[in-house]
């Protein structure tokens, strides 16, 4: 089996070809990777099939990607998302 990895908040996470980011994070024991916009509550996978948008995270600098749909790729830089994911734009 070929083991590859992406980074999640700077640390490596292994995945198998064909797995989504959400699946690989779940397999690595990561449950939550987003905080909500209003109350800052933790969220992770909920519907798992692209319907609910709870599992949003930042992929290679792009916020609001659905972890359940986004295929994992070697070398991807994945980060947890706070609120809208556009916090770096705030002044």
């Amino acid at each position: 089996m070929t083991e590859q990895s992406f980074t999640f908040d700077g640390r490596p996470v292994a995945f198998r070809s064909g797995q989504s980011l959400g699946a690989a994070l779940t397999a690595a024991g990561v449950r939550s990777w987003r905080t909500t916009r209003a109350d800052g509550r933790p969220r992770g996978l909920f519907c798992g099939i692209g319907v609910c948008f709870d599992c949003l995270l930042v992929v290679d600098g792009r916020p609001n990607e659905r972890a359940c749909l986004q295929p994992a790729a070697a070398g991807m830089q994945v980060e947890s998302q706070e609120g809208t994911g556009h916090g770096h734009l705030e002044v």
């Binding site: 089996m1 198998r16 070809s17 064909g18 797995q19 989504s20 959400g22 699946a23 690989a24 779940t26 397999a27 449950r31 939550s32 909500t36 916009r37 209003a38 109350d39 509550r41 933790p42 969220r43 992770g44 996978l45 909920f46 519907c47 798992g48 099939i49 692209g50 319907v51 609910c52 948008f53 709870d54 949003l56 992929v59 290679d60 792009r62 990607e65 359940c68 749909l69 986004q70 295929p71």
Partner: protein, 476 residues
């Protein structure tokens, strides 16, 4: 980013490559039609036969699938479509328009800088959009670790990942059994299956059940698997609350009385890192509704498309098959797909056996819905700080604050308190908001108002902006 549109006009465009869409596309192609098959996933199968995007991964989950031989036969039949350039995987359809007597299916493909829109033209459409888990809120359901039963199944079938180490499966309906059995077979500890319905509920529909003996056999197989793994299966049992600091740690489960209320003194606590919960399914009706297809409310309370005995919708040239015509499972979806594919290809089936099979399966589905209702007591168990709309973080208290402002149904509540205004556009909370508002005001729920959405799949504004005007596209 731009839009690419082929000049090719297919005889039939099939949207959705699950059981219904696969059957429709294969049947239409076998009858000589030039077919396009469009799906959001990389591999055909839909949610029921969800396949990993990689062969090695697919090998490790093959044993979890039911009816895999049939799936392979259906896929074999659409090989010719792929060879003829008609297979569009990883294409997320966001809407359908009309242009000069043809339908144009607009889909987004690629991610990041590679994202673009593709227009696929056809003279006739078969819509097989499928369904997703129906949910009702309860205290703590927004904790990470609480997942839909379908989502837990998707992780397992599509990615070979067990959602947790110690999982509770709950809600209602026959789908809970394969989810629990799959988890148990894959090494997770299933701490319990909590089915809200009474085990006697099917007894009143014995006629519909005996005509579908194979389905009983399938269910019995899952029950044997659960028994082998010593998984406790409780009926008239429900998860009433989820607890944990940052993630799910414990669940409160309770026994239900016949009226859907919790039996006093029956509450117990169960440790779990994942809850897989589902209360039936909600059909995805965005595309048929965008085209103006007539709808009706099915026996389970879901809005579904009205179709005739050839799966024709009320709109000329638009056929609908599978869960969008009423939640009924993969067997019914395949039958409806065969009928729709043949009719869309211009050669309606005269095989009365297939039509009789559809009737028997629909009766079975009606019996299933009657045996597995959503027990009404869930509304009484909501607390003021229970989140109803997960996207906009609208609590029961905030929803209630819309009442004195004049909110009397899900639609007016949406305008005044924002449930359903977020990313998912009310797909997750629409049913619940509609039920809660109806319980509070006495105004009957309106499934149409919560199902109408102009965009079937969210997309970036830049993609829409880059879309050519259909009339200028036709001129160029």
């Amino acid at each position: 980013m731009g839009t690419s549109r082929s000049d090719r006009v297919h005889d039939v465009v099939v949207v959705g490559a699950g059981p219904a869409g696969l059957a429709a596309a294969g049947r239409a192609a076998a009858l000589g039609a030039d077919v396009a098959l469009v799906d959001g996933a990389a591999v055909p199968g839909g949610q029921y036969w969800r396949q990993p995007a990689d062969d090695a991964l697919a090998g490790s989950v093959a044993s979890l699938h039911h009816g895999l031989a049939r799936y392979r036969r259906l896929v074999e039949r659409v090989r010719g479509i792929e060879a003829a350039g008609g297979w569009f995987p990883r294409h997320q359809v966001w809407t359908v328009t009309r242009e000069e007597g043809t339908f144009v299916v607009l889909a987004i493909t690629g991610t990041g800088a590679e994202e673009r829109e593709v227009g696929i033209r056809g003279r006739r459409l078969v819509l097989a959009p499928g369904a997703y888990d129906r949910q009702v809120p309860f205290p703590g359901w927004d904790l990470p670790g609480v997942m839909t039963a379908g989502g837990v199944q998707a992780l397992l079938k599509g990615h070979a990942v067990t959602a947790g180490r110690r999982v509770v499966v709950a809600g209602t309906g026959p789908f809970l059994l394969p989810v629990a059995a799959g988890l148990a077979e894959s090494g997770a500890t299933v701490a319990g299956v909590h089915e809200a319905a009474s085990p006697l509920a099917w007894g009143r529909h014995i006629g519909a059940v005996v005509r579908n003996v194979a389905k009983l056999g399938e269910g019995a197989g899952y029950v044997r698997t659960l028994a082998r793994h010593r998984v406790p299966v409780r009926t008239r049992s429900v998860v009433v609350a989820a607890h944990g600091e940052q993630v799910l740690e414990r669940l409160t489960v309770a026994r239900l009385a016949a009226d859907g209320s919790v039996l006093p003194g029956s509450r117990t606590t169960v440790a779990a890192d994942v809850l897989a919960v589902g209360w039936g399914f909600t059909p995805q009706l965005e595309l048929p509704m965008a085209l103006g297809c007539a709808t009706r409310v099915d026996v389970d309370g879901s809005l579904v498309c009205t179709v005739d005995d050839q799966q024709r919708s009320s709109v000329e040239g638009v056929f609908v098959a599978g869960e969008a015509c009423g939640i009924g499972g993969a067997d019914l979806a395949v039958v409806e797909g065969e009928i729709a594919g043949a009719a869309a290809a211009g050669t309606p089936l005269t095989d009365r056996r297939l039509l009789r099979r559809r009737l028997a399966l629909r009766r079975f589905a009606a019996a299933m819905h009657a045996a597995h209702p959503v027990p009404t007591g869930w509304i009484d168990r909501l607390t003021e700080d229970t989140v109803v709309c997960r996207c906009e973080e609208v609590t029961v208290g905030r929803l209630r604050s819309a009442l004195p402002l004049g909110a009397d149904d899900a639609r007016s509540a949406k305008l005044l308190a924002r449930p359903g205004m977020g990313w998912c556009q009310g797909r997750v909370c629409g049913y619940a908001v509609s039920c809660v508002m109806s319980a509070w005001t006495g105004v009957p729920p309106s499934p149409v108002s919560i199902a109408a959405r102009s965009v079937a799949s969210p997309l970036r504004l830049g993609t829409v902006a880059a879309t050519e005007d259909p009339s200028s596209a036709a001129e160029s």
